[in-house]
């Protein structure tokens, strides 16, 4: 099991860690556990994918690890910093300086051009970007001739590349990508996955990606499978077929259980529909 392997890793080898991470929605009779005492370590310098059926809690896990959401119980560390219990201002600063984000869509501020979007977290912080690093990121992502374009003038794939560049630009400890290919056609999606891979291999970054797409997960070093708020499995050096096979077993469980309430995955219904579609396409 890779999680136990990560536990044995040195502290410096862990980018983020959660212990007993629990997230509950609602109270009393109607309580729904989105995350049920999850223990997880995210290894530094690796590309980790988080998979699971809709309602499994994968997005919630990412939100809690990234300091976007509060936890009901348990502890979360980013590097050596415990982030559970931090106040909003400290969390904001943490996200700004130490985490990079990529979302499924609406990743860019429409009023700013590509370059301004890329440097936005540093501009907000009032830091000067590391020019050399920035150039390297821009060239890696092939954005050199798009820097003055507004998001509306870029294709979906180009927009995600800009978002990827923004996530990389401040050289964060951890990059969270939430369904980064969900809104892209397969060619543009492959391109973005390639860049995330390159960010880990070539630039030495740490990436956590939430996805429903076995093909996307196959680009990672390690796939964590979530079901009903628990990490139920992990797969090193995954292939698309192996991931798909593993996911099909969840579908079986799902049909016998009669399905999970949608509410557990908090505002993510579009993604879950897409997830089902994606699985069907994988067939």
């Amino acid at each position: 099991m890779s999680t136990s392997a990560a536990e044995h890793a040195q502290d410096t080898g862990v980018a983020a860690r959660a212990r007993g991470l629990t997230k509950a929605y609602g109270t009393g009779e109607t309580t729904v556990l989105a995350l049920d005492a999850v223990d997880v370590d995210i290894a530094r310098g690796r590309f980790t994918a988080v998979m699971g059926p809709s309602g499994s809690g994968k997005s919630t896990l990412m939100h809690c690890l990234a300091g976007l959401d509060t936890v009901s119980a348990g502890q979360v560390w980013l590097g050596g910093t415990e982030i559970t219990g931090l106040r909003d201002r400290e969390l904001t600063r943490l996200r700004r300086d130490r985490i990079g984000f990529m979302f499924q869509s609406f990743n860019l501020i429409p009023t700013l051009n590509a370059l301004e979007n890329i440097t936005l977290p540093m501009d907000i912080a009032g830091h000067r970007p590391d020019e050399k690093w920035l150039d390297q990121v821009i060239d890696t992502l092939g954005l050199r001739d798009r820097l003055k374009h507004r998001p509306a003038q870029l294709s979906g794939g180009q927009q995600q590349r800009v978002a990827c560049a923004r996530a990389l630009a401040s050289r964060p400890e951890l990059i969270f990508a939430d369904e980064p290919t969900g809104n892209l056609d397969s060619r543009a999606g492959l391109e973005v996955l390639g860049f995330l891979r390159e960010a880990v291999d070539g630039l030495g970054q740490t990436v956590v990606m939430v996805t429903h797409d076995p093909g996307a997960a196959a680009h990672s070093d390690l796939v964590l499978f979530l079901a009903d708020g628990r990490i139920v499995d992990a797969m090193e050096r995954p292939t698309a077929d192996a991931v798909l096979e593993r996911m099909k077993r969840f579908d079986g469980i799902r049909s016998t259980l009669g399905g999970q309430p949608d509410a557990t995955e908090h505002g993510d219904t579009a993604a879950s529909h897409a997830a089902e579609r994606g699985v069907a396409e994988g067939d």
């Binding site: 904001t92 700004r96 984000f101 609406f106 429409p110 700013l112 440097t119 936005l120 907000i124």
Partner: protein
């Protein structure tokens, strides 16, 4: 479809809140002013109807003067006996009443009201129409007894036994209060002093053979109109005004009406501003709601709703909003009327809120304004909604893009603006006041419309400049706020327009009034040569005893009296001009500097001569030596020869058309009951101005109504008068700004909702709450300052053009109140900060995850 409309209305009620508030404000002012004026006029109609005699005989009102002359018109008291013999007359009463008096108490403090309402001294007799009845003491008998009305007695702490001085035209006399009379009807706010009839005639009119009017009681069963005809016949037809009770009540109400009209028009001015500014707010709200609902509307269209149904659905929503706003506004208007009535009571006018009149016209006007305005404002957005294609339901378009190109706006705005600018240029070039003023009005309206239409086109260039420093000063937060303001020029333009309207009006008025002040200053410098001017605080004429007292004061060298008279002049071109002429003492040159085109002060003031403005003379074919028939108030006629033509820059716009003046002897001869309006005083050689002033202040102590002013005081007085106008304008501005702030709040609040995902993203990648608030605040400030800049530019142009019109009336100086301009810019930035408070708070409180997932 109606169900969908209702649902949508209820779903968006929060977002419609501020629009509703704007409607409530305008409707409240409309309804409040109507209820107030209805209540007041009903009250006074009733008062005058109940207190007017069946038939009244008055001296003929032939000439009236815009400038108070101090003259009291009289008729022979013996007419009462003549009228008494007429068939159908039960009784006649002599009236001897005047308001050309000042009444002071034993400490020389004025007894009359400070509100500008008159002090009336009249003779005491009791009929069933008397507005007062004796409540303590006894009726006045003899030369030193008087009654005082109870409200005034209370206010001035006077009672039976106290002594008052009455300064009337024939002379000052002292009376002792022997009784208190209490109003049994509404007290219109004036102070009443009653004397017995012979005393009133002798002391007020100078002779027991004179009266100011004759009141006639009709015998039972005799109709007023019939009796009036008989009285007219008995009096030989002409020479007197004979009125029935109805006519008398109407003319009394008309006199009061002018004062009440001012209040009414001020209130309607507020309503107008509120409505005008509110329209921008409502247009913006509906435009934004429709932009946000594009997909929903597209779905409706895809499901088979046709364009008309979509349009009707939006308009129905607008009408619902208008109905709710009007209803609340009507209620608020009733509250406002109650407040105004209370305010009037504080000024001594005892109106009762129990008698509040809400005529059928009030709700009609309220709903017409409320619903009408909302409907008109929502019409264009509704058309836009109808134009949404069914494809919009399917497209995953981001909401509220930059929108269609602004070509149509550019063309229409440009055309209207060009016509408006031409009108303003014409106004500046015109040399006749009437032409110039109407061109000014046209130009103001057209340039305002043009700026509103073309406002969105100005957003980019102006905000690029205004917010140009933002990225450098505030980094990416500044950059985003500037770009957000530029994002939808239509919206920014409309929001700023609301602020622009108010500021343009105020700036224009400020420039005009500052120019007036400076022009008057220059005129005072140029023309006033006297050390002091002695004048009544409210410009009313004063008794000749004041003149005597000033003359007798030690150290006074020269006194030149000014006395006005209403005249009618028949000019060689056949025109008969009614105006007010001034009479002066001989040594006018020593107290005033007058430029003559022909003749001089001596030839102007010589017996049988008059002076006239050269321009007026040229217009009407008058030359030096022309003999003009002149008619005075009271019907006295004479011919005066033009002895001098003046070339003054003085204003002739204040009821003194033609700039006529002559020797004071002419006034004394033809208007014997006139009183002096001003005294120009020079110190005798060897007496210092300060010394003389101290002495004059001392000797004039018994006359608290008159004041001694030097040039600086005189300028201050003029400034104060103009300032009153400005205060009104500032009050209008206040209201306009309140609504404009609502507009900015509205725009920002809806923008925040619209940009929820963007805000969520920014927060996710590390924008702090304070930074987010600053971003919204800066956007708000730049929008507000943009509105202020447009308003200032427009207002300055208007002000300069207004000054051009005033220049034709002799007000030649132009002054631009830069301090006001700077204050407006700073103030607008503050407005921006204030307006951003709530929307920024709301944005910063958003849940990051919910915002990211927001559809």
């Amino acid at each position: 479809m109606l169900k969908a409309t209702l649902r949508s209305f209820l779903a968006h009620k929060g977002r419609l809140l501020l629009s509703a508030l704007a409607i409530v404000l305008s409707v409240a002012f409309v309804a409040g002013s109507l209820i107030f004026s209805d209540t007041v006029s009903r009250t006074f109609d009733r008062l005058f109807a109940s207190t007017s005699a069946d038939v009244t005989v008055e001296p003929k009102q032939d000439l009236t003067s815009a400038v108070p002359t101090g003259a009291t018109q009289t008729l022979p008291a013996a007419l009462a006996a003549t009228v008494a013999k007429v068939d159908g007359v039960a009784a006649t009463h002599i009236d001897a009443a005047t308001n050309q008096v000042t009444v002071v108490d034993a400490r020389n403090d004025p007894v009359g009201p400070t509100t500008g309402a008159p002090t009336i001294v009249t003779n005491w007799y009791v009929t069933d129409r008397s507005p007062v009845r004796l409540t303590s003491g006894h009726a006045p008998h003899g030369a030193d007894q008087a009654l005082l009305d109870a409200d005034t007695a209370d206010r001035r702490h006077l009672g039976i036994g106290d002594v008052m001085s009455v300064q009337a035209q024939p002379g000052t006399f002292r009376v002792r209060i022997v009784g208190i009379a209490t109003f049994s009807t509404t007290n219109p706010g004036s102070a009443l002093v009653f004397l017995d009839t012979p005393t009133a005639q002798r002391r007020l009119l100078g002779s027991t053979s004179r009266a100011t009017s004759i009141s006639v009681d009709a015998a039972k069963g005799v109709d007023d109109a019939v009796l009036k005809r008989r009285v007219v016949a008995a009096l030989g037809g002409t020479g007197y005004d004979v009125k029935t009770a109805g006519e008398q009540a109407k003319s009394a109400a008309a006199q009061l009406g002018t004062f009440l009209d001012v209040i009414k028009y001020v209130m309607l001015g507020f309503a107008g501003i509120a409505t005008l500014v509110g329209i921008f707010l409502i247009v913006n709200t509906f435009s934004m709601l429709i932009a946000q609902r594009t997909r929903e509307l597209g779905l409706l269209r895809a499901l088979g709703a046709d364009r008309r149904q979509v349009r009707r659905s939006v308009l129905t929503e607008a009408v619902l909003l208008g109905l709710v706003g009007s209803t609340l506004g009507l209620a608020a208007g009733i509250g406002l009327a109650v407040g105004l009535i209370g305010l009037m009571s504080a000024f001594g006018m005892n109106l009762s809120t129990a008698e509040m009149v809400i005529g059928w016209g009030t709700p009609v006007a309220a709903y017409a304004v409320g619903v009408g305005v909302t409907f008109v404002a929502a019409y264009l957005p509704a058309r836009r909604a109808a134009a949404v294609s069914p494809m919009a339901a399917l497209a995953d378009a981001e909401v509220a893009g930059v929108g269609r190109p602004l070509t149509v706006r550019a063309i229409v705005g440009g055309l209207v603006g060009a016509v408006g600018a031409a009108a303003l240029a014409g106004c500046a070039a015109a040399d006749r006041t009437a032409t110039s003023a109407s061109l000014l009005g046209l130009g103001v309206v057209l340039t305002l419309v043009a700026t509103v239409i073309a406002g969105p086109l100005l957003v980019r260039p102006v905000i690029r400049v205004l917010g140009g420093a933002f990225p450098a000063v505030f980094g990416s937060v500044g950059r985003m706020s500037q770009r957000n303001a530029l994002r939808n020029p239509r919206r920014t333009g409309a929001t700023a327009s609301a602020l622009m309207v108010g500021l343009a009006l105020v700036t224009g008025m400020s420039v005009a009034s500052a120019s007036m002040s400076r022009s008057f200053d220059e005129q005072i410098d140029k023309t006033l040569g006297a050390d002091f001017v002695v004048q009544n605080g409210n410009f009313l004429p004063f008794s000749s005893e004041v003149t005597g007292t000033v003359r007798a004061t030690d150290g006074v060298g020269l006194v030149v009296r000014q006395r006005f008279a209403a005249v009618a002049v028949r000019l060689p071109d056949g025109r008969r001009v009614e105006t007010t002429a001034a009479g002066y003492d001989d040594r006018l040159d020593d107290v005033a500097h007058i430029k003559y085109e022909a003749g001089n002060t001596t030839s102007a003031l010589a017996p049988g001569s008059l002076a006239m403005d050269a321009g007026f003379a040229a217009d009407h074919g008058v030359r030096i030596g022309t003999v003009l028939p002149v008619e005075f108030q009271g019907g006295r006629k004479t011919s005066l020869r033009v002895g001098a033509l003046t070339n003054q820059d003085t204003a002739d716009g204040f009821g003194t058309q033609g700039g006529l003046y002559f020797g004071i002897a002419t006034v004394e001869k033809y208007v014997p009951s006139g009183q002096d309006s001003a005294l120009y005083v020079n110190a005798s050689p060897g007496t210092g101005a300060d010394t003389l002033r101290a002495r004059l202040d001392r000797t004039l102590r018994p006359y608290p109504q008159v004041q001694v002013r030097d040039q600086a005081d005189y300028k201050q007085l003029v400034h104060d008068q103009i300032a009153v106008l400005l205060y009104l304008v500032y009050a209008l501005l206040g209201l306009a700004i309140v609504i404009a702030v609502l507009g900015v709040v509205n725009t920002l609040a809806l923008s925040v909702v619209e940009r929820t995902r963007e805000i969520g993203l920014l927060r996710a990648i590390g924008l702090g709450r304070r930074q987010l608030r600053r971003m919204i605040r800066l956007e708000s400030v730049v929008i507000a300052v943009f509105g202020a800049v447009l308003g200032l530019a427009l207002g300055l142009v208007w002000g300069v053009c207004t000054q051009q019109v005033l220049a034709l009336r002799g007000l030649k100086a132009l002054a631009i109140p830069w301090s006001t301009v700077v204050a407006v810019v700073i103030g607008s930035a503050v407005v921006g900060v204030v307006a951003a408070l709530l929307p920024a708070l709301r944005a910063s409180r958003m849940n990051v995850l919910a915002a990211i997932a927001h559809e």
